[in-house]
Amino acid sequence: MKLPTLREVGTEARLLLIGIPVFIWTMIPIYHMFLFAISPKEDAFSGKLWPDHPTLHNFSIVFHQQHYFLRDFWIQFGNSVVIAVAVGALTLVIATCAAYAISRLRVPGSRVVMNLALFTYFIPAAFLAVPMYRTMGKYGLLNNDWSLILAMVTIASPYAIWVLKQASDKLPVELDEAAVMDGASPLQIFRLVYVPLMMPSLVAIGTYAVLLAWNEYLYAFLLLSNDKDITLPVALGNFLAADDSPWELLMTTGFIYALPPAAVYYAFKRYMVGGLTAGAVKS
């Protein structure tokens, strides 16, 4: 076995000197949240870095809705799930159809549509929130799940269309031509050739839209306000309204809320890294 040279040890030490602060910086807010989630109330406020009596009691309180702030936990969890899934499905349908029309069917004016979509993508969503809130009021959709679903579809579609268009531009035209020769209609090509070939990008975009909707706070908090209509992030924000908020329960709920997207992210990382980062910045 070869002993490491002094130079190699030096390099390794320098890398560790970067790696350890990066690790601490990344983990502090997450560990703090986890710490609160497993601490009984007395330990949570004592400034300890590990509780004397770690417990899962907080989770049981949340799951059994045994606190005033948590009385609608499961309904709110369900709202989050329904809205995220609906946004994912609708975005996929709308964006896939649009990308197919723009990239494969060469509809006149499709370039304009693509540019309009890109433009919407770049306008920060927070600036669209105020007019969107008023518009939803005019449509009579406020406090209705559909307002949030439609708002999130509006925000998710432009990027979805753009990524899918980039991906479908790479599919060989010969495939379409061969299918046309065999007498396939545009709809058959879409169903039998296009969608199966686009699967990896579709998975990435579906995941993107679901996570975007699950994580959204601003629109959810503006558009929904009844305790039984709101999504989990809004419920978390509402904890702040009281001065004596039960932090350990808030952090436990936050931890539960953060787990599904983290799991989805890591499960689909393969698709996310290939499909999305390539699309995010084309150099």
Binding site: H32, G47, V113, L118, L128, F190, G254
Partner: protein
């Protein structure tokens, strides 16, 4: 309209040749329709309506007379110029760290992406509690070790804004590091080997190989990050709530503040005032991406 009319006219004339729309183009329009409907109903109409609400010059006068607006504009600029550049420089540096071939660095990169993978609300609230002057873990530790009370972190506008910027960096640093890593990995390894043979220093390798091939990507990322950061509502709103005394608002939280106070025309006017900042950046990004 003209297109469909002439299409049906020629169909009536039983001359299929000069039909302007092929069946596949008709299908294309049908498939484009859902997005166009969404776009009309939830982008064009709201924006047009919002601009109409913001048409009154009096609301701009009121806005410019509101000291909170001036403060928010300055805060936004600080957020963009200091926060983004700091973040992108760190991301550029860390991208060089994370492409090192080590087992533990690979594991670290999996952990490093966590802030991007988890929703921002719980982590921002977690930091907010950490910074609580009485019960927060930071001041508890300061008291334990020094016997003195720690600072009232979020009660000082400068510190509070710095914390919001830190929160933003914490959240989005992994994403940009990942993007810049792909840029670094695309550089041919031969160049570095040749430089190694020539005895180039670390700085020379960065200056003459890495930077020239990454600068376009880096600048694109910086501009894109600026656009997105203009819309970063959560980092400020949930950490400081715009406080103390409305001194840490940025333009994205200010619009919502006016909306909550039922001053709709002021809210829209503040958003219109952000456009000179947003539109040039958007224009540049559109030119870069729609080639």
């Amino acid at each position: 309209m003209a297109i469909t009319l002439s299409a049906s006219d020629s169909a009536l004339a039983e001359a299929p040749r000069p039909v302007l729309l092929t069946p596949s183009q008709v299908w294309g329009i049908v498939m484009l329709a859902p997005y166009l409907l969404v776009f009309l109903a939830f982008v064009v109409y709201p924006v047009g309506y919002g601009l109409w609400l913001a048409r009154d010059p009096a609301s701009y006068v009121a806005l410019f007379n509101d000291p909170i607006f001036a403060r928010a504009a300055v805060n936004t600029l600080i957020f963009l110029l200091v926060g983004i550049n700091l973040k992108m420089l760190i991301a550029l540096f860390l991208s060089g760290f994370f492409i090192q071939q080590r087992g533990w660095i690979k594991w670290l990169s999996v952990i490093f992406i966590l802030p991007w993978a988890v929703p921002s609300i719980p982590t921002i609230l977690s930091v907010r509690f950490m910074l609580n002057p009485e019960w927060g873990v930071i001041n508890q530790l300061i008291f334990k070790f020094t016997g003195e009370d720690g600072p009232n972190w979020l009660n000082d506008p400068t510190v509070a804004l710095a914390m919001a910027i830190g929160m933003h960096i914490w959240k989005s640093l992994p994403f940009w590091t990942l993007i810049l890593m792909t840029g670094r990995l695309a550089i041919s390894h031969d160049l570095f080997e040749a430089a190694e043979v020539d005895g180039a220093t670390w700085w020379q390798k960065f200056r003459f190989i890495t930077w020239p091939s990454m600068q376009t990507l880096y600048i694109t990322c910086t501009l894109l990050s600026m656009i997105w950061t203009l819309g970063d509502f959560n980092s400020v709103y949930l950490l400081t709530g715009g406080g103390p005394a409305d001194l840490t608002h940025v333009l994205s939280t200010l619009g919502i503040r006016y909306l909550r106070l039922d001053q709709l025309s002021l809210a829209m006017a503040s958003i219109v005032c952000a456009m000179p900042l947003v539109l040039p950046l958007v224009y540049f990004m559109m030119k870069r991406l729609s080639r």
